[in-house]
């Protein structure tokens, strides 16, 4: 009797697991094609959109506005770098609809067939995007992405701790005077990119020797580094806990509001200009909701709120017109030709270079400083 009981218990568990997996097929999927049906079966299921965005990259009240306007519930989660976002999605453990990667990551994700082409009929606000940002190198036919924000990266320093004579170049981040007071990026592309620029190479080099040389330079820099950070830089720079750090200009403006001693410059060797754009993941379960979300984020109202909250440069022309002239005239926020000439954007890299980045990054991080 015990045996049958145990057997029955296990069977019941199994049936419980399997029930709900079987249903009658509806007409749209009865064509018998085994590959076409998997997303359409659930497409109409409803009122959710799963959004995966950078941390500190939205005015959260916009999400509520969107929910009120459309009745779609937003499940909002955050990542701290393109690489962690990629890992989470590539690992197969995630189920997001909208992601907002940077240019080079979009190129990689298109290459690896991770993104779904957008239906621009559902995104009428796309017309408001600055034409200069259309058909970019990372998405040449503009099939997969809608720009969200863009900007420059550069060096942030605390004027009370750093000598004005030392600034101007990336080599400030290698200056031994400030040992223990320097912060750098905790992601491979940005961190290695700085060293590549200091050496006079392109961000997008695929030359193994150049990349290794850059990482050697970073290993040299490691004893001077206080910490490898992403958004932790806010607390550190605002509180005067570090003197020098490299980060994005929009975030610098946010930090400066708290700590007016902070200043920003674009190093003479040049820096990165980036675009973060909204994309929909392959086989997203809520594609139409995702498109509604993207469309809403491109509205003047949402764009303005976001722009004021995070201080990044907006791709929306109508928003730019409404901005305070002091902001829209800011040379680093909306750079002119002379600044642009110094900037280079990241391009997608071939697979072997990406592998090299990963292994070189692991080499840098696992090197001991003492």
């Amino acid at each position: 009797m015990k045996k049958t009981l145990a057997l029955m218990l296990s069977l019941m568990m199994l049936i419980g697991l399997l029930s709900g997996c079987v249903s009658t097929r509806d007409e749209s999927t009865s064509d018998g094609d085994s590959t076409s049906g998997d997303s359409s079966a659930q497409q109409t299921s409803g009122g959710v959109v799963n959004v995966y965005n950078w941390g500190e990259y939205i005015d959260e009240s916009v999400l509520e506005d969107f929910e009120e306007a459309t009745g779609i519930t937003v499940n909002y989660q955050m990542y701290d770098s393109n690489e962690t976002m990629y890992a989470k999605i590539a690992g197969g453990g995630a189920d997001y609809d909208v992601v907002i990667p940077s240019d080079y990551m979009i190129a990689r994700m298109i290459e690896e067939d991770m993104l779904e082409p957008l239906n621009f009929d559902n995104i009428p606000n796309f017309a408001d995007i600055d034409p200069a940002l259309l058909n970019p190198a990372y998405d040449p036919e503009n099939l997969y992405s809608v720009p969200y924000m863009w900007g420059l990266m550069g060096v942030i320093y605390n004027t009370t701790m750093v000598d004005e004579a030392d600034i101007g170049s990336w080599d400030l981040m290698w200056n031994e005077k400030y040992a223990g007071d320097i912060l750098t990026y905790d992601n491979s592309r940005d961190a290695i990119g700085i060293a590549l620029k200091l050496l006079g190479y392109s961000y997008n080099t695929t030359d193994e020797a150049q990349i290794k040389e850059a990482v050697d330079l970073l290993i040299e820099q490691k004893p001077l580094i206080q910490a490898y950070v992403m958004d932790q830089i806010f607390d550190k720079m605002q509180g005067g806990n570090a003197a020098i750090g490299s980060y994005y200009y929009g975030d610098f403006l946010t930090m400066q509001e708290v700590n007016p001693d902070l200043a920003f410059y674009i190093p003479e060797e040049g820096a990165n200009i980036y675009v973060d754009a909204m994309c929909i993941l392959k086989d997203a379960k809520n594609k139409e909701n995702a498109e509604a979300f993207i469309n809403y984020m491109c509205s003047t109202e949402a764009g303005l709120k976001n722009c004021e909250a995070i201080c990044y440069s907006t791709p929306l022309m109508s928003v730019r017109e409404e901005l305070d002239p002091e902001v829209s005239g800011d040379i680093y926020a909306y750079p002119d030709e002379s600044v642009m000439a110094k900037c280079e954007s990241y391009a997608g890299l071939p697979q072997e270079t990406l592998d090299l980045y990963d292994s070189e990054w692991t080499r840098l991080k696992s090197t001991s400083v003492d």
Binding site: L18, C21, V22, S23, T24, R25, D26, T29, S30, G32, D33, S34, T35, G37, D38, A41, N50, Y52, G55, E56, N75, Y76, Q77, M78, D80, K88, G91, G92, G93, A94, D95, Y96, M230, D231, Q232, F234, D235, Q238, G239, V258
Partner: protein, 297 residues
């Protein structure tokens, strides 16, 4: 044994200061009228109000409590049953089972989390391929059936992971009680006419109770405090409180979280104080009874 002197009491006090200093800092700064932790801007209760309006935090709190309670309940029942089963096995198979049971305990959290994530993803992809294959079959089409076995990481996998690391704690705290159990007790009950079930329910279970409760408490504590395993197995749809905190500590900790942990801390503190007081009262009552009984002629 000797009582503690001043020096050892002082040492204890210093150790407790070490354990509680960061907690006090959190509590104090939950009343700070500024987002920053660097400066004190004046007293406010604002964060406590905002806490209840912060959707991300509240839903994470719900998920955390739900997964901990469910996992603890399931693990307590399953673990007790498993402990009885292990105890009844022959020595060889018991040793083998206990060895496997010890794996989640002695393995690093990272490995448990990572390995379960890999398994879930692997099975999820396998099942989705399998249902695609099934749906392509002629007879399935004729029967107008639609299979969808695919699943992705979410509350279900989170719960499975929590149950898996909770059960071993329950088993290890029930087993010693089973060893102390007098096997004649249950037999006596059955001789007196109880069915096996009644004998178990009325006689054996009460004897095991302290071990079960202990295991349950440990399991619950482990579930509530877990971050690493949840981080790898919860996927994208649900977040536990720890995961929300983790995504925050990499940016700026929001003061609402400090308010929430202050509330949780106070709640647990009150609960434990009440339990303690009751125990103390029971003990002194028992002592009084003994005293009174001793005075009886």
């Amino acid at each position: 044994m000797k009582k503690n002197g001043v020096v050892s009491r002082l040492l204890l006090a210093v150790m407790f200061l070490f354990l509680y200093a960061p907690i006090f800092v959190l509590i104090i700064f939950s009343f700070n009228d500024s987002k920053s932790t660097a400066v004190w801007n004046g007293f406010t209760l604002n964060w406590y109000v905002e806490l209840f309006q912060n959707r991300a935090v509240m839903s994470a709190l719900r998920t955390t409590l739900l997964v901990s309670v469910l996992a603890t309940a399931i693990a307590t029942v399953a673990g007790t049953a498993a402990a009885i089963g292990f105890y009844s096995m022959r020595r060889r198979s018991r040793t083998a089972c206990l060895a496997v049971n010890n794996i989640p305990l002695t393995n690093a959290d990272v490995i448990t989390g990572v390995s379960m994530m890999l398994l879930f993803v692997f099975v999820g992809q396998g099942l989705s391929a399998f249902s695609n294959w099934l749906n392509g079959l002629q007879w399935v089409e004729d029967a107008n059936l639609w299979f969808d076995f695919s699943f992705s990481l979410g509350f279900g996998t989170l719960l499975i992971a929590h149950i898996t690391f909770d059960i071993p704690y329950v088993i290890l705290s029930v087993l010693p009680k089973l060893r102390q159990l007098d096997p004649n007790l249950a037999e006596a009950a059955q001789d007196l006419g109880a069915t096996r079930f009644v004998a178990f329910w009325k006689v054996v279970l009460p004897e095991l109770m302290p071990g079960i409760v202990n295991g349950m408490l440990i399991a619950f504590t482990m579930s509530i405090d877990d971050f690493v395993i949840s981080y790898f197995t919860a996927g994208s749809q649900v977040s536990t409180l720890s995961m929300v905190v983790y995504s925050m500590v990499r940016r700026q900790i929001s003061p609402e979280i400090k308010a929430l942990s202050t509330l949780m801390f106070v709640a647990v503190l009150i609960l434990l104080v009440i339990i303690n007081l009751r125990q103390a009262r029971q003990e002194s009552a028992a002592a009084r009874r003994r005293h009174a009984a001793a005075r009886q002629p």
